[in-house]
Amino acid sequence: MGRNAIDRTEVEYRISRLHWLDHFREGWSIFIKNPLGKIGLGLLVLFGLMAACSYIPPLLDPMYRPMVGVDPEIASSVGPSLRHWLGTDFMGRDILSQLLAGARVAFMVGVSAAFMTVVLGTAIGMSAGYMGKSLDTLLMRLADMVMVMPTLLFVLMVSALFGQLDIWVIVLIIGLFRWPGVSRVIRAQTLSLKQRPFVEAARVAGAGHLRIIFRHIMPNVLPLAFLYMTFRVTSAITIEAALAFLGFGDPGTVSWGMMLQWVWRTGHMFKAPYWLLPPGICISLITLSFYMVGRAMDEVLDPRLRKEEEAS
């Protein structure tokens, strides 16, 4: 009899996996119908192309290397020309190649920090929700505490003490500080999943805690975690950009925030709109597109939101 029950959960699991693919197709068709999702995804593809293209200019000519390449004939900021489509910065470096390299940095920082946040947030949220009791209280109080810390200012303090920070250290700190929001949502979801019949069935069938967590609860919270990842990408990109803008970024990396810092500190912001505008527009647009993709995904995951839109 016990054997039977296990078989049944196994079958259920297989079915649910099939469903998962169907869900994905269904979700995708809803997602792509949403104008927000379409525009956001389109923009992201564009930024992805920018990041991919960032490898091309340095191959054409060493003066197009974003950080160290200097045009031998230009030693100051000059407006757009055929040779430099977006002009040059204060020491004759090509702005377009910096902008392309910036896209790469933005994706790298945003996605890796967000991934870390979400892994941490999901793990903590699931443990708190599933285990309950004192572990729950402890983890959630910790979340409260981390939540009120202004991340940017904390990274500033760390860089004051430890000197210029490597880009990966910055990513790590952002990851360590942005998980509480995710873990709260995941915890709530886990609490409700724990009461569902299929978890009960698995437990009666003799599944251990780890099996229940990984096989039955995790697949159900992952979509939500993924949704939060898109929102966390925006905040990670913004924090890195702000840090670089204030002059505490990784000096070996050309990010959009770094470019803005150069315009600002060298006093070119009134003289060189061709230099001031592109990085700011890029940061704002990439944040906006991740945000739009997140909102469109939100609608896929929360049918209530969808019905509301359809009714209108």
Binding site: V148, M157, L161, W264, S284
Partner: protein, 325 residues
């Protein structure tokens, strides 16, 4: 008195959290590479002065005694001497704090009120052109990169059009003029405040609008709205008195949760506009390696965030009688 119990509990929580932050900062400062004495004592001080400061801060003692001295000094409001200014840190901090509070609270309150009012309109006329534009506008202003927005505003309104001063909080010629009355001075500060306030306002009102809009849409589906309609109340009364009041509750929580995030924005705004506030002081202190000042500024900002969070929570509990913790 449930509310009082709740307030006391939240306050105890704040004390505990702040204590942890204090301890974390203490450890960070002692564990970072380099000599903590060099970090807390100005290298240009005379040896006697330096000796005295080392004693006051307890830097010659073992770590656990230092910790005790550190806590005692904090409670008494002593943070050491700023390297850059050569003055006690606490004096500088108290001088800058009101400027930050003035800018920040005005921005938060203004953007919350505008966000609520516009979100109400957007949800009421859902699907109309007004709604679409308001939503797009708030999405765009919500995600724009703050320092860049500040630079653009300076470029357009201060540099090109010359309507507002480029930086600072006061003009010296007005404040040094003995004939200038309090009104002239207030106007001068307000004139300087328009652009930084505008920046913070633009960044914040969008999120409030979006939260208010979706919360209002949710509220409009409630039974009591149907009842209000059935009673024959005017649409305006339903919108303002029945729906909006209840829908505004999540906005309050939203403002509270995003406070830590907004304070980052506040520091950036102050830095770009050289507004003499505590956020700019922190950025400046970090870039100057003025450790005592940076430490105190950070602690104070953390404290402000914590206390405002409690205020928001209490406000929420007061506004919504269903919430009891």
């Amino acid at each position: 008195m449930d509310l009082w119990k709740f307030i006391v509990r939240r306050l105890i929580q704040v004390v505990v959290i702040f204590f942890v932050i204090l301890t974390a900062l203490f450890l960070l400062f002692r564990l970072a590479p380099g000599d903590p004495v060099e970090r807390m004592v100005d290298p240009t001080m005379t040896p006697e002065d330096a000796q005295r400061l080392v004693k006051v801060l307890g830097l010659h003692e073992p770590l656990h005694t230092q910790y005790g001295v550190y806590l005692k000094n904090f409670v008494q409001g002593r943070f050491g001497t700023s390297f850059h200014y050569g003055q006690p840190v606490e004096d500088i901090i108290w001088e800058k704090l009101p400027n930050t509070i003035l800018l920040f609270t005005t921005a938060i309150i203004l953007s919350a009120l505008t966000g609520i009012a516009l979100g109400k309109i957007a949800s009421w006329r859902k699907g109309s052109r007004v709604d679409t534009w308001l939503t797009i506008g708030s999405l765009a202003t919500h995600t724009v990169f703050l320092p860049w927005l500040a630079l653009i505003l300076i470029w357009i309104f201060a540099y090109r059009l010359g309507w507002f001063p480029i930086t600072g909080m006061i003009s010296e010629e007005v404040w040094l003029d003995p004939d200038a009355g309090i009104w002239v001075k207030t106007l001068d500060v307000a004139h300087h405040m328009v652009l930084p306030l505008g920046t913070l306002f633009l960044i914040h009102f969008g999120s409030t609008l979006l939260v208010m809009r979706s919360s209002m849409l949710e509220t409009l589906k409630e039974d009591y709205i149907l009842t209000a309609r059935a009673k024959g109340l005017t649409e305006k009364a339903i919108r303002n008195r029945h729906a909006a009041k209840n829908a505004a509750l999540p906005v309050v929580t939203g403002v509270g949760l995003s406070l830590a995030f907004s304070i980052n924005g506040g520091a950036l705004t102050e830095t770009v506009f050289t507004w003499p506030g505590i956020g700019r002081e922190l950025v400046f202190a970090v870039s100057q390696s003025d450790y005592p000042l940076a430490q105190a500024a950070f602690l104070l900002i953390a404290l402000v965030v914590l206390v405002s969070n409690v205020i928001v929570d209490v406000l929420y509990a007061y506004l919504d009688p269903r919430i009891r913790y």
